[in-house]
Amino acid sequence: MTGLILARHYVREVMRTKLALVFGALQPVLYLVLFGPLFARSGVGSWEVLVPGLLVQLGLLSAGMSGFGVVFDQRAGVLERLRVTPASRMSLLLGRVLKDVLVLLVQAVALVVLGWAFGLRAPLPGVLLGLTLMLLLAAGLSALSYALALTLHPDLFAPIMSTVLVPLLLLSGALLPMSLAPAWLDALSRLTPFRYAVEGLRACFAGSYTSGSALLGAGVTALFTVGCLIVGTRRFQAENA
């Protein structure tokens, strides 16, 4: 309940600055508009391959940088103020994560609708399952991002995260399928959970709900998210957070 109250408060803050909502999704949208037509005509893949990748890109970049908000809150004394209320530490984290997921849902739906206008054709259940998988991944990543923001020096959070997220995005195969990669890059890619999430999403969009890729993607993403939520909660509970 407390988590919901916090999430509602944060969502209202985001809605007040609607530009942030638009700019948060701008990068995947630009890829869709400027890179998508080339991708679809290159023979490498179709819109059904690209759009799930762009959804993971959206989740990775937005949720990965979400910890930035807590850096500001820590500086302004907001976090300390909240930590002296009866609200549980876990709800302080979950409220933020839920806000991130809701904002991403709006951005992801807009991306899918735009993709549809360009030529994406996928079964509705597959799209819904894919969105669920992407939001699950984003929830974990968001929790991890908050944990890192409370651990790293405030000035280092943004440069470290932006440096780490780009290679993770490239390794996930979100932009180009990893089937094109040399063996060493393919093997490296398999060490990150995002590769499995991307392939899971693509399987959902292709309607292969019970394929190995879909099941492995769902399993790895669920494990990743649970692990990240545990790490995030522990960090929020730490007395020096």
Binding site: I5, E13, V84
Partner: protein, 253 residues
């Protein structure tokens, strides 16, 4: 309202072990305004953070607002208000939204939160500020918003960490008046840390001086000054007890 015995906090790292607070005994009665003074690094902030549940003591016992600090930290949090030194609201956040959120976190429903915030804004001379972003307020107004944040749930005990640091003399005097009125009207107990000895002198019934992690002197400002001699100031008391002048400490902090 506060009873602490042997309260201790030791920081242990690979490099060193530091005893930040070395066994603090203190008692604060209901309705008292108590000032907590000490040079930088004396253990003032650590003690305050322990009493407000933000830091777990490594030794000793304490009851705060009638609840055991170690066994019932969540119950302590329900009963105290805390105004941290660095503020409580982000610059872009709207004052009313943040206050209503805080009220909801103390279990009030939306209607109760609205009416409580409205009443508190009026009482602290912040009427009309509800929709204003915090950055648009003066220093004194922002500090009153911070105090409102600590009073939303009508706590019996309010902790103020350096409440007037950075405020001009007029705003400082205004804030003292608000604290006095809250005590007079609601019997609020106030435990405040400060770098301003004139603040402790003007506002506090009693002061505690901490140095080297221990309480080294306590008493009513008038009694402490009388110990030094006729016409003595609290600055002279502080200098005699700690060997350092607090004003320079505050300026450097």
């Amino acid at each position: 309202m506060i009873h602490a015995r042997g309260l201790r906090r030791t920081y242990t790292s690979k490099a060193a072990t530091v005893d930040a607070v070395r066994g603090v005994d203190l008692d604060v009665s209901p309705g008292e305004i108590v000032g907590f003074l000490g040079p930088n690094g004396a253990g003032k902030t650590t003690t305050l953070r322990m009493l407000t549940t933000l830091l777990r003591p490594t030794g000793g016992t304490a009851t705060v607002a009638g609840r055991d600090l170690l066994a019932e930290p969540a119950e302590v949090r329900r009963r105290i208000g805390y105004v941290p030194q660095g503020g409580t609201v982000g610059p872009a956040s709207r004052v009313g939204d943040e206050l209503r959120l805080q009220a909801r976190l103390y279990g009030m429903d939306a209607a109760a939160a609205r009416s409580r915030v409205e009443a508190l804004l009026g009482r602290l001379e912040l009427a009309g500020m509800d929709a204003r972003p915090a950055a648009s307020l003066s220093g004194g107004q922002r500090r009153r918003v911070d105090i409102a944040m600590g009073l939303l749930h009508e706590p019996a005990l309010l902790f103020l960490d350096e409440p007037t640091t950075g405020l001009d003399p007029q705003s400082r005097a205004g804030l003292w008046e608000h604290v006095r009125r809250l005590r007079a009207e609601h019997g609020l107990t106030v435990f405040l840390s400060t770098h301003y000895l004139e603040e402790a002198d003007a506002l506090c019934d009693r002061v505690l001086i901490i140095d080297g992690g221990r309480i080294v002197r306590e008493g009513a400002p008038a009694a402490l000054k009388a110990e030094i001699g006729p016409g003595a100031t609290l600055d002279e008391v502080f200098l005699a007890v700690t060997g350092r002048a607090l004003r320079e400490q505050g300026a450097a902090a």
